[in-house]
Symmetry: C2
Subunit: 310 residues, 2 copies
């Protein structure tokens, strides 16, 4: 058993933080650590909260934390916020949260930093969720800013994804984005006291009708974070969806599919970790301004296959 | 020479569209096609326009098209808009543009669809830019919605990236995102007649000061699209940055780095294309709900390496 995992079993929060840093930095021992982490898997509920900037996700999550804690459950939040360290952006939101939950051992809040490599952040986030699960949190919330391709990918690890919308016209376009109807298990209309609430709700209803599958019928929850309204309902709907997933074959099918995709992704990552060394060390691979990248790539790979170096 | 590339040389726009569809669908002959495309590389200026939804990118690009056309130059627009086909979202913006430039052979507008695989969209977009260059457009504009990790990756192909902001408080947070100061070569404050313009400008100035490098000093351009104000200045600043890149060592260094990253990415893609077949055909790889994905991936890869099958 990895020393960090041992320490996590003794509820050492610093070990938890260190383990997440290891996956963030793509440490070579990562897979060994994560297998040990996986062996400690408990039964945390994985919840995703996503939506465009300004939809009020942070305040909503903050209220949700308080609600979950009032039920005696512990909760970890993985905030995927591509905000620069030199700015005050993420800090603003996190400070508010920290102030409120800082002294509470039942709450762990972690911001994930953007890594340079495409997909690196998604990978690290999934690993961080597993680490929080192994630590023993009852609920793990993944909060992502915006709905881009990486965000959609991140959400493949959670059981239930809530898409947070507001009744502003600009935000309505969010629901037309590709993949949204597939990724969102339920919709939250936040700031529901703003004008446009009715219009957004009927639009959502229509879309839900149009994209009906054998999955759980997607709920629409109305929240007003500033007045703490609708948070209990949101938590109830998240749990209903979770129960549906764990009491029906649909959920099993979905989890197996997610697992499969993840294994593929991990294999892909492992291969590249190996091959990258060869590419970087290969002095015959000369890239200059005028060279054809497509030809260089194809030729290098053909050569390398012949040599049989893996 | 690939038949499509031959036809593109004769200014056949349908061949251009078909070639882009090939890279979008990740066609097996893609790399061969793209090498032929690369051999036809002209000297198009690659311009990136990015920013959050609602910043007015589409209207801005529309004005920019008109301006570029007035100089007698041809222009292709690759719009990376993850909008679902069953919605009217993307169509709205594109229709407006189409109406105005539809009969103009000097303008080509193409929306790229989101592919399932992470990074697939970024890859296809870069290829599409090259295809438009080979066709002979003077300017290729890549327009992306939002600034996520995939978007940052897409922008690695362009010479000059303009980040479009508006003086709304929500949008200000955009500039704090990680990678923005690195990716944005110049800033556009659009809808500059809205309150908050002065505040945003001084904030930007401060950030530019803080992150000063040996690169070109990042300009701030003020535009009001509805009044067609600032478009000429924007085009001028884009060209100034472009000239800087092609007249100094900084630009050469940057292009070689981009080329290198691209070759790595292409090799990575090629390898996976091969290995994926083995993974999918391997019936010994059994994934179920409780299996440890990290162990499965590691074990499978070790086994596969031993067999030496590539």
């Amino acid at each position: 058993m990895h020393a960090l995992v041992e320490r996590m079993r003794q509820q050492d929060m610093r070990a938890l933080a260190k383990a997440i840093t290891m996956v963030e930095n793509d440490h070579p021992d990562k897979l060994t650590l994560l297998s040990d982490v996986f062996s400690q898997k408990k039964h945390a509920r994985y919840v995703g909260i996503t939506g465009s900037p300004g939809a009020g996700k942070s305040s909503l999550v903050n209220r949700l934390i308080t609600h979950i804690r009032s039920e005696g459950k512990t909760v970890a939040i993985i905030a995927v916020d591509p905000t620069s360290p030199f700015s005050g952006g993420a800090l603003l939101g996190d400070r508010v949260r920290m102030n409120q939950h800082f002294t509470d051992d039942g709450v762990y809040i972690r911001s994930m930093a953007t890594r340079g490599s495409l997909g690196g952040l998604a990978r690290a986030t999934k690993d961080a969720v597993r680490i929080c699960d192994a630590y023993g949190f009852d609920v793990v919330i993944v909060e992502t800013v915006g709905v881009g391709q990486s965000e959609l990918d991140i959400m493949k690890i959670v059981d239930t994804t809530a898409l947070v919308l507001t009744p502003n016209s600009g935000d309505v376009l969010q629901i037309f984005k590709a993949g949204i109807m597939e990724i969102a298990d339920l919709f939250v209309i936040n700031k529901a006291d703003l004008p446009g609430y009715g219009k957004l709700k009927s639009l959502l209803k229509e879309l839900i009708m149009m994209s009906k599958t054998d999955e759980h019928e997607k709920a629409i929850v109305k929240t007003i974070t500033t007045e703490n309204k609708g948070i209990d309902k949101l938590w109830q709907k998240i749990n209903e969806h979770h129960d549906f997933l764990y009491q029906t074959k649909v959920g099993t099918k979905r989890r197996i599919m997610q697992q499969e995709l993840e294994v593929y992704e991990l294999i892909r990552e492992e291969i590249w970790r190996d091959v990258e060394k060869f590419v970087e060390a290969d002095e015959t691979l000369q890239v200059d301004e005028t060279s054809d990248p497509y030809k260089l790539a194809r030729d290098w790979y053909q050569q390398w296959k012949k040599k049989g170096e893996v």
